[in-house]
Subunit: 629 residues, 2 copies
């Protein structure tokens, strides 16, 4: 595919402006339209994909609602989904059964799409392609009637692009003034795209400036189709002087990410998100650091431990306090806590099988267990002079990992948890007896036992005691649970509480789904993990070998003494050896756990499905075959 | 039925003793056997019930295991169950479908059986009858071959009974010396029955004395069949002098129980256990005292508030402390807490539909909500001088309600809960602004918010701080959850934690299951309650009108301001109005709730079934029909 062709016909700034103002007019030159239709036809026959974008852009009219329509479509139409063409780097729509046979490349792409803030340009692209099919039909129809179609907006190229300076571009930073950006030497007016951006208003951060730093941060943009889509919005070129200056050398912000173990299954490379092979989990009560699941929202910051400072401020504190790493290690007693961390999206892939959700396609291993060493948050707050009695209700954490706008990763936990004698909230500088690895927050991270991973902020830079929860995207508009009936049209993030404590969970790590078991040894051994949030101890795991009809009680293994009531922060590994059933050559293995509040896992996934694919804790099932003798 | 017939053949003490010593011998007189067989046949043909008990008793041999066999049988054989004959006061075995069409009298009896200590003589009776069926077949078979059967023990009556004094009876209080009891003027050697007693070793409390006080306490014994069963064990009569003395006037210990509202659905009269009509629950955020569910384990004690003392002692206390009601009301600030209490057995009837469990057959209304007024346990312990640092882990409560042996109702809660700033454990003397009613613990009860009803000890007499949990039956061998695979043969009560915090729960109070709805108004309104233990707030209730395929979010109603995190002790009432579905005339309404730890209810009952029928919190379902237009 010739990328230059795909920029589409070019129009003048003035025409564009009037189009944005809603002035519909007839196309001016028939040959131009004919050429445009031919262009579309040619592209369609070659690969049936990215074409006619400019037309669509103009035809869409009130385009702000499209983001939601796109999302709705992806959610509601499992039989019709986009597929990445392996050889052509393009996308086309394809029908299939319930999304179960999704092309793996597409899966990876979806995973990538949802990394970071979770949503990207590309969603808009797919949407456009979908509408394109209908529009192309309309166009072909019009052409058949002699090309007399009336277009709401024009599509005429008008020769060379106008020239702008970077300074002129910076003046276009609002929907009123137009939203302009640069990429390389080109200037783009993306005003009409803002409402289509699947990443939401975050796109406005780039208004008036260069896209490169953002795309370096959210690497999923670096794809041919995204460039093609951008091409349609081109309205000018930079002045020769500004061209020479360049947009500043944009290095890959992920270039300094640490090396990782190749055994990890990568769900997103930039930012890095990966889980270990599930068998590794049940082999170790403490997950080795290299295999501990990694869930980064942004590039791993490079922190000089000598220059590192932890800033503490907020309600109830007489003044802001700044602590060095040395202060933390020497002025406070060191405590160790063994705590399991779990991503809210662990086992999301099972929800995806029901109906597509947004988010990384985690298997069952976005959970791991470690012994953390560090100082107690409570003691640090007391040292900083915190006194009860004010309006404080929350402790906000800010990471040193920041996006290009300088916004750090952020989250908060209830003050009650932070101050509790039994809450065991740590500021950790050690993990399993080693220095905290860079991927896990070097030099300091929050460890909030019993609480969803997202609140265990890594590369901890600031602690703010506040009457309010963190205002971060991740606290306010992510990591919340909803009814299966709620979709992206109807979701009201204010209506649900931010996930803190997680519910009871368990999964089967061995055998793997689809495994072919040898009948040697007369026994089948099933292993797994079980954990519950809020310090609730797992007291029982039931395992079924017949799909849930009958149950056996598994043997629980813990790597430590029985924890005090309400402080069971670590998972339990479990095991069940059972004779192969006499008849049948297939085993439907199911597990479900019970905690000491006698909470139990729900039976099935569909009734707990939610649009973000979090809190996936239904009974875990694997089906394995038994080799014939 | 002629009760005298049912005493069965009588044998001498000596024969009895030798039988107990395991000496098997041939029957001595054929005519006696023939008469015995006729006797059985006659009774069988008349009502197929209580007969051949003596034979069975002797045939059972190593009878100690029978209790468990009986229980197993009742659990495993839903198609074969005993039925109370309405007109004859007898029991016969009857087949049916899954126990769904149980005779209501039998239901009441089962309910009664499980009241108090939960198990009674009658279970043994049923067991015997069941084994009788098999034995009768053997007998008939033997008779057919000329009555040459060899019986392990004899069944010959030997004239008049020996005479014993009460003093002699008191010497038989162990299995070695034999276990004797009196009832009326008769003396019974129940040594062989001890192991059969479904109430367990509690029967030994009566050893050497009169049964009357026990049967007065556990009224379920006062049935014809139990008298008949006892008759078989008669070994003598009391001396004339002792006859004159009597066993002491035994008044009904329940005679002074308070009056109750007739609208209550009684599950057991003595002790009193009853639930309100479920519609009443969802009409009132605070359940009126008269309708608050009643769950008594023993007779309601009569307490003189002037003479009442609360005794406090144990670990960490410098000395025992005694407080009057006046002390409690004047020396401590009064606090109010709105808290929902729920019986561990709420919704047990749904488990009974899967497979018979032991316990009162509660519907969905063994849960209610009230505002409690009283003093904080924490403050009372501090007043008593409690200091941290010792071995104390639990706070034990003892009630003033006692069984005939003087053993009080008892339970304990974790010390952590008792001392927690946020635990809100009250010693309550008010309920919904009124003086605590007698049925709810007058003059003082524990209110342990978020914790199973059984730990909210009523008629509170003693508080003991201890390193140990309460040793009471209800803490150690009851109110615990098990896997569906655990039966009375395999249950190990030590393997499961005592229920404290309860899991997420919800139920539909309106419409009722089986209701016929009018299509007027175009809307169907569904109402219910939702609650979770441990102070976890209910954040959502999903309601389905199509059996769980699709869901709608109900509107939650709370009677108070949003509680602090972790202190949501009160339920939420909820409501959903939805249009009647266009097609179909039946609605499968389902509800499920979510708390702020995002715990959800399990989908179905069978996988959470447990032998005591506690923790029944699967999705609640009602099926209603819509009237044809």
């Amino acid at each position: 595919m010739r990328s230059s062709e795909l920029r589409g016909p070019e129009i003048s700034r003035a025409e564009k402006r009037s189009a944005r103002q809603g002035q519909a007019y007839k196309i001016q030159t028939f040959p131009i339209v004919a050429s445009f239709l031919n262009d579309i036809a040619e592209r369609k026959s070659s690969n049936g994909t990215v074409a006619g974008m400019l037309f669509l852009k103009h035809a869409l009219g009130p385009a702000r609602r499209c983001l939601y329509r796109t999302q709705r479509l992806l959610v509601r139409t499992p039989l019709f989904y986009p597929q990445v063409c392996a050889d052509k780097g393009c996308v086309r729509w394809q029908s299939g059964e319930g999304g179960r046979d999704w092309n793996p490349r597409w899966q990876h792409m979806v995973a990538g799409l949802a990394a970071g803030t979770g949503m990207v340009l590309a969603f808009g692209l797919y949407h456009r392609q979908e509408e394109q099919a209908a529009s192309e039909e309309q166009l072909a129809d019009s052409a058949g009637r002699g090309g007399e179609a009336v277009f709401p907006e024009t599509a005429a190229p008008v020769g060379a692009y106008p020239i702008f300076t970077r300074e002129e571009v910076t003046k276009h930073r609002t929907l009123q003034d137009g939203v302009w950006v640069t990429f390389g030497d080109s200037v783009y007016d993306i005003t009409d795209f803002v409402g289509l951006h699947p990443g939401g208003s975050k796109i406005m951060l780039a208004a008036g400036g260069a896209l490169e730093p953002f795309w370096a941060m959210y690497a999923v943009h670096n794809q041919q189709h995204v460039l093609e889509l951008l091409g349609e919005y081109k309205v000018g070129e930079l002045s020769s002087e500004d061209k020479k200056k360049g947009s500043g050398a944009i290095s890959d912000p992920y270039a300094s990410d640490p090396p990782r173990h190749p055994a990890l299954k990568i769900n997103s490379l930039k930012p890095f998100n990966a889980e270990p092979p599930s068998e590794i989990l049940s082999e170790n009560f403490l997950t080795p650091n290299a295999f501990f699941f990694k869930r980064n929202h942004l590039p791993v910051p490079e922190v000089d431990p000598e220059r590192y400072r932890l800033e503490i401020s907020g309600e109830g504190l007489p003044k802001a306090v700044s602590l060095t790493l040395e202060d933390l290690k020497t002025k406070f007693p060191k405590h160790t806590v063994t705590a399991t961390l779990q991503c809210a999206g662990n086992r999301r892939s099972e929800m995806n099988k029901i109906k597509q959700v947004k988010g990384l396609d985690w298997g069952i291993a976005a959970i791991s267990n470690a012994q953390w060493g560090g100082v107690r948050l409570r003691e640090v707050l007391e040292h900083a002079g915190y006194r009860h009695g004010g309006a404080a209700q929350h402790v906000q954490f800010e990471g040193l990992d920041k996006d290009v706008s300088g916004t750090p990763y952020g989250a908060s936990i209830p003050l009650r948890k932070a101050l509790s004698d039994d809450g065991d909230v740590l500021l950790a500088y050690e993990m399993n007896g080693e220095e905290l690895p860079r991927d896990h927050g070097f030099p300091l991270r929050a460890v909030v036992p019993g609480t969803v991973g997202a609140r265990n902020v890594k590369w901890l830079g600031k602690i703010i005691v506040s009457a309010e929860e963190s205002k971060s995207h991740w606290q306010q508009n992510d990591y919340k649970g909803f009814s299966p009936s709620v979709d992206w049209d109807t979701v009201d993030f204010k209506s649900a509480p931010a996930i803190q404590e997680l519910p009871i969970q368990s999964a089967i790590t061995e055998p793997r789904d689809g495994a072919l078991l040898e009948r040697s040894g007369e026994q089948v051994t099933v292993r797994g993990y079980a954990w519950s949030g809020g310090g609730r101890e797992v007291v029982r795991v039931d395992v079924s070998l017949d799909g849930g009809k009958t149950w056996q009680v598994a043997t629980l293994r813990s790597g430590e003494d029985a924890p005090p009531l309400g402080q069971a922060w670590a998972w339990k590994l479990w095991e069940l050896s059972a004779p192969f059933p006499p008849e049948g050559e297939q085993l439907d293995i199911v597990c479900k756990a019970v905690d000491n509040s006698y909470n139990m896992q729900p039976d099935s996934v569909a009734p707990i499905w939610n649009l973000r694919g979090v809190l996936s804790n239904a009974w875990h099932r694997v089906r394995v075959s038994v080799k014939k003798d």
